[in-house]
Symmetry: C2
Subunit: 359 residues, 2 copies
Amino acid sequence: MSGKIVSYEDLTAYVAKILAAFGYPLDRADITARVLVEADARGVASHGVARLSFYKKNIEGGFAVPTAEPSVVHETPMSVVVDGNHGVGSYVADFAMQKCMDKAAEIGAGFASVRNSNHYGMAGLWAEQAAKRDQIGLSFTNTRICAIPTYGKERILGTNPICVAIPQEGDDPFMVDMATTTVAHGKIEVYERRGLDMPLGWVVDEEGKGTTDTPHFQKLFWGASPFGGHLFLGGEGEEHGGHKGYGLGLLVDLLCAGLSMGRWSFKTFSGTGSGIAHFFGAMRMDLFGDPTELKRHVSGILEEVRNSGKAEGQDRIYIHGEKETEARARNMKQGITLDEATCTLLDKYGTAFDLGSLF
Amino acid sequence: MSGKIVSYEDLTAYVAKILAAFGYPLDRADITARVLVEADARGVASHGVARLSFYKKNIEGGFAVPTAEPSVVHETPMSVVVDGNHGVGSYVADFAMQKCMDKAAEIGAGFASVRNSNHYGMAGLWAEQAAKRDQIGLSFTNTRICAIPTYGKERILGTNPICVAIPQEGDDPFMVDMATTTVAHGKIEVYERRGLDMPLGWVVDEEGKGTTDTPHFQKLFWGASPFGGHLFLGGEGEEHGGHKGYGLGLLVDLLCAGLSMGRWSFKTFSGTGSGIAHFFGAMRMDLFGDPTELKRHVSGILEEVRNSGKAEGQDRIYIHGEKETEARARNMKQGITLDEATCTLLDKYGTAFDLGSLF
């Protein structure tokens, strides 16, 4: 069976049914299905419905409790600390981000640190909610360990993404949404499937030395050894700024776990619950003047960036968020293309839970 | 003449006299001298007293007006927009950061966007002020153009540093303070002086292609062509995440210039004033609970990072801010070592302004 095309609506409804069969209450199944399908719609398959098997394993392993309710452990007019109580990541994230945006609407800004949550999907889905309300949106999360600090060799930090959304004219904000590691692990899996060596600068081996050996690294990464892992943006050592990427990754853990008394990446997925921690923020544009004027100014800057000189052989300079917005517009019309492995996964769950075929 | 060692106090007093001779009012001479000497004390010579000649040129070129007073153009209980009116960068930065910290002390957080300022020294000097008051500190600035976007070849963005300081136990915060470009230009000058090729991934040439040719790049960079420039963290193209570093650099310009209706990097140093823009923030730790407990938790995470497995041949994993703190402690005892070129510069001004010799 090769890949298939399916509509956004059909896919969302089907994925929600699968999640309900996993034990998700309906509201959590709905929001999680939307979060996963949005990623596929935007061409970010790494955060899409293929994650269903990971979500299932999290329940089976006791890392996620689908019926758990988040609770507020500390609150001020501008801030909230949320304990996710090991509940559904997207549900907990929505709870915390709503509080940030409501606080911002009330007094100008709102911030939330969150402990004991789970995987919350693409970071940008939360930050962009704020941008839709003329607020600057922040969304950070720690993740399962995969990355090593500069001069280290032990996997102690996650991909720890950073996302900031800044409103501009029109519906779609400027949005930088990036793992602080050089690449996501999915990229290495592509190289493995194709039998290719990785470029130097993506990962280090069990001695902490850069390696291009994809099969050896994969064995290390999934094996019992705590050594060998992803490099942060800037790569090995300091020559290309690897210490900067490491600084950003560590910053994310301090904001998420540090400010919530939660578990940092190294302590996630050990004991009860995955212990994933997030940090969110929302700041009203009118803290800084007339939002219409500010958004026009932001759009003007971005237009000048687009129009600047292109490298030989290149015809476009991208603004962050554009690729995903364009992919979404295309896929809402044409349908979402799922790869073969994902189709097989959906069929497997469809059969197991007697949901009929999606395709 | 080779390098010399001089005490922090003597150097600060001497630099303040030079700045006063440039036309700086005494309060601005004092704060700017401290900002420059602090950088040298911390081993960050690129932001140290060697900058005096750049500061002088800024006055002569009409980019900086030492007597100008900053003004507030928009204010809320949590935010302020400052017009620096082309005044002294460190004076304007201090004005804006004080407002952030006072607002944070009052209601929890304070943010400032600043237009029409000038070079403000190391970004960290402002963020760490907040950390000393148990506040998370933010400090960003755009700069003169030097960098190109992914797939571009035109210098349109600055080094656009990001700084975030997070309080921990003890006096010194965790502080990531980093240009979003791969390297500062000073590093390329070192390679030029030593007659070395640069590593690939630092810069591109006039066609937007990566180059290792240091003399050719320097000619381009200081010449009339707008093409060729620094790469952002992650280097050329997307293979090593260059689009992420570019996203961070652009984000800094949108926060600084975008939210102040100011000039983005591309428009700095053209027309009246340099037009440098900043963004600052301060957020009280107790927005998220008991600061003592939170700082202990942050310190605990950092200690575990330090103690994690080291790469072969490495005996230390650094936390961001440590190198600078240790250099400062050493130099406060031993004195600050200035290189030959900097000593010559100070002697030149000392003679010109009849200040006597520092050495």
